[in-house]
């Protein structure tokens, strides 16, 4: 009899343990990413997707995410193409919000983000606001002030005002012979245009540089001061331009010591090639953060030689180098935008484990809220280049950064202010 009881008890315990094991193995935390996998900005989405895949794989290889009851859950991930189109980004956001996904990562472009964030609830607990309620953590969209649109949206993107301020200070200290600046931007691109006319030029003025063609009205060095005069006085182009002869001539005519090429990789290479063709050799070229990427090194490594850019990613730590290799394995490249996607996945894991998620599909709304609150409560996270502090009043990050310079077909770190 005792033998039977023991056998039964053993069987029951075994079944219970197996069931518990099976149950924990079946626990899944769903996250979704979306961005450009088609269209002219496809490379940004491809890179982010490659990095997120690698990060999700790493989390699962290390056992998954710890739930509130102590069991481990697998991280499941899906990526959707929203083509950097506002309507499509909103459609995917609604699709994801209708599912049991707990957190979203996306949607690549600032324009799509500006639209998509608008359909989210602006302030939590505002019952009169029927916007979507799903925490979003963005990796690429870097245009100023986007995260303020909704309290459900957070960004892990670089702080350009701080980066360029430090860059000009460093240039002024290390190359005191450089005195004058001039430049141009792709005016129909919000990020390039805004960062150039409101951040980069003003930071240079703040550190004693002068505008080569002469003083500009209202340009004091404060952020955004005299930005219209800056744009009027610059030699600008458009995103779809393929001929930069006029702009390059203006660059030459300015006689500036430092030339600023504030554009994305596609026109940066066009402009640099034309500058090379016209044998323009300034003391230094300063680029836009988004151009510190593999695309520039693939498209115009020789012409970019010497260009300096502040960036929040370079493979200078073991972790960053590993992410760069993993991104390549998945068919993408790690850069300041896509590498942030790795950090986002790790932030999600950190927050979920901190707030205690059950993984119960019937509690999706409550768990999304808990994760949002957890994201808002974050003051620091560990990034690939070091500690990231967060300015949660605006949902933004203050990321460590370095200055990279194009040298012999690659990006070389020339200054590490961390």
């Amino acid at each position: 009899m005792d033998y039977n009881l023991k056998s039964i008890a053993t069987c029951v315990a075994t079944v219970a343990i197996m069931a518990a094991g099976a149950a924990s193995a079946e626990s899944v935390i769903n996250i979704a990413g979306w961005g450009a996998q088609s269209g002219p900005l496809r490379s940004f989405g491809v890179n982010s997707n490659a990095v997120i895949q690698a990060a999700v794989k790493r989390v699962n290889e290390e056992g998954g995410i710890r739930l509130a009851d102590g069991t481990m859950a697998t991280l499941a991930y899906e990526y959707h193409d929203s083509a950097c189109n506002a309507e499509q980004a909103i459609a995917v956001a609604r699709r994801v919000a209708s599912s049991d996904v707990l957190v979203g990562i996306g949607p690549t472009c600032s324009g799509a983000a500006a639209a998509m964030f608008g359909v989210f609830q602006k302030q939590v607990d505002d019952a009169s606001d029927t916007g979507l309620q799903l925490p979003i953590l963005t990796d690429t969209a870097v245009r100023n002030g986007l995260a303020k649109i909704s309290q459900w949206t957070f960004r892990n993107t670089p702080n350009e005002p701080a980066m360029y301020d430090n860059l000009w200070e460093w240039i002024a200290t290390n190359q005191p012979d450089l005195k004058t600046i001039y430049g141009g931007t792709e005016t129909d691109q919000g990020h390039s245009n805004g960062t150039y006319s409101k951040v980069i030029v003003q930071a240079a003025i703040r550190h004693g540089f002068t505008w080569a063609p002469g003083d500009l009205e209202g340009l004091t060095g404060d952020i955004a001061s005299g930005f219209e005069a800056v744009l009027d006085s610059s030699a600008n182009w458009l995103q779809a331009d393929t001929n930069f002869a006029v702009q390059a001539r203006a660059f030459r005519k300015s006689g500036a010591d430092v030339l600023i090429v504030s554009s994305h990789p596609f026109t940066t290479c066009g402009m640099l090639k034309e500058m090379s063709r016209q044998r323009i050799e300034p003391g230094l070229i300063v680029g836009l953060t988004s151009s510190s990427s593999a695309e520039v090194m693939k498209g115009c490594p020789d012409e970019a030689e010497g260009m300096i850019i502040p960036t929040s990613f370079a493979p200078i730590t073991d972790a960053a180098a590993e992410v760069a290799a993993l991104a390549n394995e998945n068919g993408g490249d790690a850069d300041l935008h896509s590498a942030a996607a790795w950090e986002n996945v790790m932030i999600i894991k950190q927050v979920i484990e901190a707030v205690g998620i059950t993984g119960d599909a019937s509690m999706v709304a409550q768990e999304r809220r808990a994760i949002r609150d957890g994201l808002e409560a974050l003051t620091e996270t560990e990034g690939l280049l070091g500690t990231i502090t967060r300015n949660q009043a605006e949902g933004e990050a203050l990321k460590p950064y370095v200055f990279v310079q194009a040298q012999a077909g690659g990006w070389v770190v020339v200054h590490d202010p961390r």
Binding site: G39, D81, R95, D129
Partner: protein, 305 residues
């Protein structure tokens, strides 16, 4: 459900854009300027709700009227050109509008926040619907009320003398003029009606997406606008709706999983559809067949195409 309601929203807004081009196609005018009127409706109504806190209905009405007014003005010079020249002229108009909004910066502080169009940075937070407690079902109902109203009016128009006049001008304007039709009035009226419809669509678009900028109103959207009635067929108002469902519902949403290949499939499907049904998805034969199946007697001229 939320997702499907969102798709209904998109299909509704694009149907209005397509119908604005449909009206002009009735008179034989191919316009790529509808996106300009769409942009005017979007910005004007957005400015009114965001900067001046107007009610959505008043804002949509004013947006539509302003778009219609510009369409009326454009209608006169457009009379002087036909065919490809009209296409080029209307592209130029829509580019002027796009670049105007590209340069428009009108920032006002409302409730402690700077809001309004901000040139390259776009026009953010056109959040009337969510901020005023509208559920998505309400938004879909509003959009489709306009779609149904406009479709009904155009369907009705096809059954009265005015519609016959429009089609007569579209078939052969010289013959129509010889019969005493006032070409100026008909073409300008069609252009104005198209502008009003596009203006309503633009207003609804801006409030649905909460954000507009100069990238939104490019030649691509203008091409979509005329593609809908051409692909759907301009023998019947329902053709435009069918084409929008096909493009927005099936090709763009249904084939999302295909990534970059979606654009290739998109092009192939359009070529295939135009070859199999050169007069549009809803052509004369289609209408005739439907009428036969419904037991009605088809019109002799409905099986043309």
């Amino acid at each position: 459900m939320l997702y499907f309601l969102g798709i209904f929203q998109t299909i509704g807004v694009h149907t209005l854009l397509g119908l604005s081009a449909y009206v002009l196609l009735l008179t034989g005018q191919l316009s790529l300027g509808q996106v300009g009127f769409f942009a005017i409706g979007a910005y004007v109504s957005g400015i009114l709700t965001v900067l001046f806190s107007w009610h959505i209905f008043a804002a949509l009405a004013v947006g539509a009227l302003v778009a219609g007014f510009f369409a009326f003005l454009i209608g006169f010079p457009a009379l002087r050109v036909k065919g490809l020249m009209l296409v080029v002229a209307t592209i130029a108009f829509s580019e002027i509008v796009r670049l105007f909004f590209f340069n428009l910066s009108w920032r006002v502080e409302v409730n402690g926040f700077d809001v309004g169009p901000d040139s390259t940075q776009g026009f953010r937070e056109i959040r009337y619907f969510a901020a005023n407690g509208w559920e998505q079902t309400h938004v879909v109902a509003l959009i489709w009320s306009f779609v149904i109203l406009v479709m009904f009016l155009l369907w009705w128009l096809d059954r009265v003398r005015a519609g016959a006049v429009l089609r007569a001008v579209g078939e052969d304007d010289l013959a129509a003029q010889s019969s005493g039709v006032n070409l100026t009035m008909v073409k300008v009226a069609a252009m104005t009606a198209g502008g009003v419809i596009a203006g309503i669509g633009g207003g609804l678009f801006a409030h649905s997406t909460t954000y507009v900028d100069h990238h939104t109103f490019t030649i691509l959207l203008a091409t979509f606008a005329v593609s809908y009635p051409i692909l759907g067929g301009h023998k019947n108002v329902f053709g435009t709706l069918l084409a929008v469902i096909f493009i927005q519902g099936f090709v763009i949403e249904g084939l999302r999983f295909m990534g970059d290949y979606r654009n290739i499939v998109f092009g192939l499907l359009i070529i295939l559809a135009m070859n199999l049904r050169p007069q549009g998805l809803v052509d004369g034969h289609f209408i005739s067949d439907i009428k036969k199946k419904l037991g009605g007697k088809p019109k002799k001229d409905s099986a043309d195409a």
